[in-house]
Amino acid sequence: MDAEAARLLGAGLAAIGVGMAALGVGNVFGSFLESALRNPAAADSQQGRLFIGFAAAELLGLLAFVVAMILLFVVGG
């Protein structure tokens, strides 16, 4: 395979990682909403934890995005 083609394919494959992070972030907020509706009184006190979980899940997707950007614009771009 051509190195240029491999570079672009790799950048495209990194988009899978971003999509997986979308699953993770959706799961974080979905679970929060589900339990918040069961016990609305306790929901506000857990907002900090919600955002910690969101930040952790999001970071991994952002790392995949960084890989794509490095492949597109830094490596021989």
């Binding site: 900090g48 955002f51 969101f54 930040a55 970071l59 952002l62 960084v66 950007m69």
Partner: protein, 261 residues
Amino acid sequence: MAAESGKIDPMHQFEVQSITDLFTVGGQQIAFTNSALWMVITLGVLWAFMMGGMRRQLVPGRWQAAVEGVTGFIENMMVTNIGPQGRKFVPYVFSLFMFILFANILGLLPLGVVGVHPFTVTSHLTITGVLAIVSFGIVLAVGFAKHGLHFFSLFVPHGAPWWMLPILIPVEFVSFMVRPFSLALRLFVAMTAGHILLKVLAGFVINGMNADAAWVAPIVSLPSFILMIGISALELLVAAIQAYVFALLTSLYLNDAVNLH
């Protein structure tokens, strides 16, 4: 018309350009750049916001209520995460939160319409990196000043069986040392990704309008433009969330330094 519709470069917006070359230090050019200009603007807007709202009226007006809302929000976050001792760090975390929030939002302003190009300060790893290093440095300074060498017990989880320690201590150490990088990278990439997305969609709109075939504009440009409006709203949310996450994680790391665990 389509012949000159070249490739639209979504990375051009992140270029740091010199506005005035000031002086040289040891062969290095020190210049006042567009990045520096937007940091000054951020600071000016932040200063104006605080000065306008820091009054001592018993019944706060709208502006004073806005400022007190933000300070109260940060103070509440520090007290819940650290305890009463967290009140000491409110000035630092508040400045951090407000600077990041204002920089994010000012970088999103549609000033390109009047010919000024907004520059998102927080879309550069150098700037978010410095903010993260300052946060991490404060955590280290507070931890060592408060607990001395006992601070290293942070790497030993409570209740772990002794034979697990050779594995747990390196893992805890790595997870501690990676904090400034994850802090800086998260903010920088979140802002960069949003702005690239907006500019790519803007490129679709412009190239679609310039296309030779008449059917391209309503089919490509219009949906892209509608999507851009939605993404812009999402970016406003992300700008606030990323500032909040940066402040929240800083407060959690400070909690480790103040209370160990």
